[in-house]
């Protein structure tokens, strides 16, 4: 139990340090941007992938 609480405290201390770390936020933003970009790309690529057919009117 003591080990667990000390581990949580250590994580908390590390977390507090990270929140003030600009480099950490820069990396977070880049990773988030990449993930969200891929997500949007996959959705829009799926939309644009519909097959085409030449409309023969006559």
């Amino acid at each position: 139990m003591k080990r667990l609480t000390s581990c949580i405290k250590r994580i908390g201390r590390y977390g507090k340090k990270l929140i003030r770390d600009k480099e950490f936020w820069a990396y977070t933003f880049v990773f988030w941007g990449l993930m969200f970009g891929i997500y949007l790309y996959l959705i829009y690529a799926g939309m644009a992938k519909a097959p085409e057919f030449t409309y023969a009117e006559f």
């Binding site: 480099e23 950490f24 988030w32 993930m35 959705i43 057919f53 409309y55 009117e57």
Partner: protein, 394 residues
């Protein structure tokens, strides 16, 4: 360590933002605007969610094909004529959206329809000997509407199996979609999927519904934003009666006839002079007597139409037919024998009679001068006649 922590944080943020996006999408797609039904747009046609969430209590389905894309900027198009009337329609149709497409659509939309009625504009050109080409079928196929169809518990397993078989056959040119449909069929139609397949199917379904949302929203926001805003707040000058607000079709018909006659010029097919010069004249020599062997007597489209009726019956939707004409002067020129053309009207009429379906026959207007904008699509004059028929059936 810092990078790992950043990655984990980014992943959590991504999950939150994707969830927020999904929830806001769900809210925005239901636009609570009956005028949305009159919007003629391919993305709307393919989006089960957009159709289902915007079906108003007084709204009937108005189904057809390419004719909806002709004259849509004119005041004679149904999207304008019915814009300020009590009758409400969800217009769905583009080139090659024929009976099978509409059968799937009705099967998918029925549970969301309060006014269970579907008016189908039937074009003779649907009934070619080979039916819809696989490429054309694939172009118009909607994954989300198909999902809605196979998941509709009102539809019998036998009917689902018939449609499933046909759809898999017709998607021969679109293998990626065919594989997806095969999986959906295993899960929802044949009930022989493994647990892993069910899981993959769930993922595929959620993903396709998401893509459907975004495609429709993009179409609304980017393509037609001005027009859509106009619909939300229609602006009519004080005292001006919008066209179609009265039932005086006669006055509108005269106006439309005058306009169609002026646009027709002096071509031998009584069609729009502009379209004649652009599309018909360059091919006239090649088209002369090119349809001598053609016939509408046998076509897989008749079975598709029967399937459409069957689906309507099972889901409790009342189908109503309007038989459209085609430009008789042009088809005479191509040598398409008249008796082998006219058979289409008789065969469709028999299907309607056997199933007690209200049927309005405009087929004889094929020789009505200035009815057409080109060889098959209606002009201003043609649209007014069709609108009258729609009005009668609503």
């Amino acid at each position: 360590m810092k990078k790992i922590a950043a990655f984990i944080t980014a992943f959590i943020l991504f999950i939150i933002s994707a969830t927020v996006m999904t929830v806001s999408d769900d809210r925005e797609i239901a636009m609570n605007n009956p005028k949305l039904g009159l919007w003629v747009n391919d993305y709307k046609d393919k989006s089960a969610t957009a159709i289902n969430q915007n079906l108003g209590s007084k709204m009937s389905l108005l189904l057809g094909s390419s004719e909806f894309h002709y004259g849509k900027k004119t005041k004679y198009h149904p999207s304008k004529v019915f814009a300020n009337r009590s009758e409400q329609f969800m217009i769905i149709g583009a080139s090659y959206t024929q009976s099978m497409f509409h059968a799937i659509l009705v099967g998918s939309a029925a549970p969301h329809m309060q006014r269970k009625e579907a008016i189908l504009l039937i074009s003779p050109s649907w009934f070619k000997a080979k039916g819809v080409q696989p490429g054309a079928f694939a172009m118009r196929f909607s994954e989300t509407e198909y999902l809605g169809f196979v998941r509709n518990s009102q539809i019998s397993d036998d009917l689902k199996k018939k449609v499933a078989k046909e759809v898999e056959n017709r998607l021969s040119t679109y293998k990626e979609m065919r594989e997806k449909i095969h999986l959906y069929n295993k899960v929802y139609v044949y009930n022989n999927a493994t647990p892993v397949e069910r899981l993959v199917c769930l993922g595929q379904r959620v993903w396709s519904e998401k893509a459907d949302h975004i495609a429709f929203k993009s179409a609304v926001n980017l393509t037609k934003i001005k027009r859509y805003k106009h619909w939300v707040r229609p602006k009519h000058k004080h005292g001006q009666v919008p066209l179609g607000a009265t039932r005086r079709w006669e006055g509108i018909r005269m106006q439309a006839e005058k306009e169609a006659t002026e646009r027709a010029g002096d071509n031998p097919f009584y069609m729009s002079q502009k379209l004649f010069e652009e599309k018909v004249q360059p091919r006239m020599e090649f088209k002369k007597d090119s349809s001598l062997r053609d016939s509408y007597a046998k076509s897989p489209e008749y079975d598709d139409l029967k399937l459409f009726v069957e689906v309507c019956k099972e889901v409790g939707v009342k189908p109503k037919f309007i038989m459209l004409p085609q430009n008789g002067y042009w088809y005479d020129y191509t040598g398409f024998p008249r008796n082998r053309r006219d058979v289409v009207r008789d065969k469709v009429k028999i299907i309607a009679e056997k199933n007690n379906i209200e049927f309005i026959d405009l087929y004889d207007d094929g020789y009505d001068k200035y009815f057409f904008k080109d060889t098959v699509h209606p002009s201003a004059k043609g649209w007014i006649k069709i609108n009258e028929a729609i009005d009668l059936l609503y």
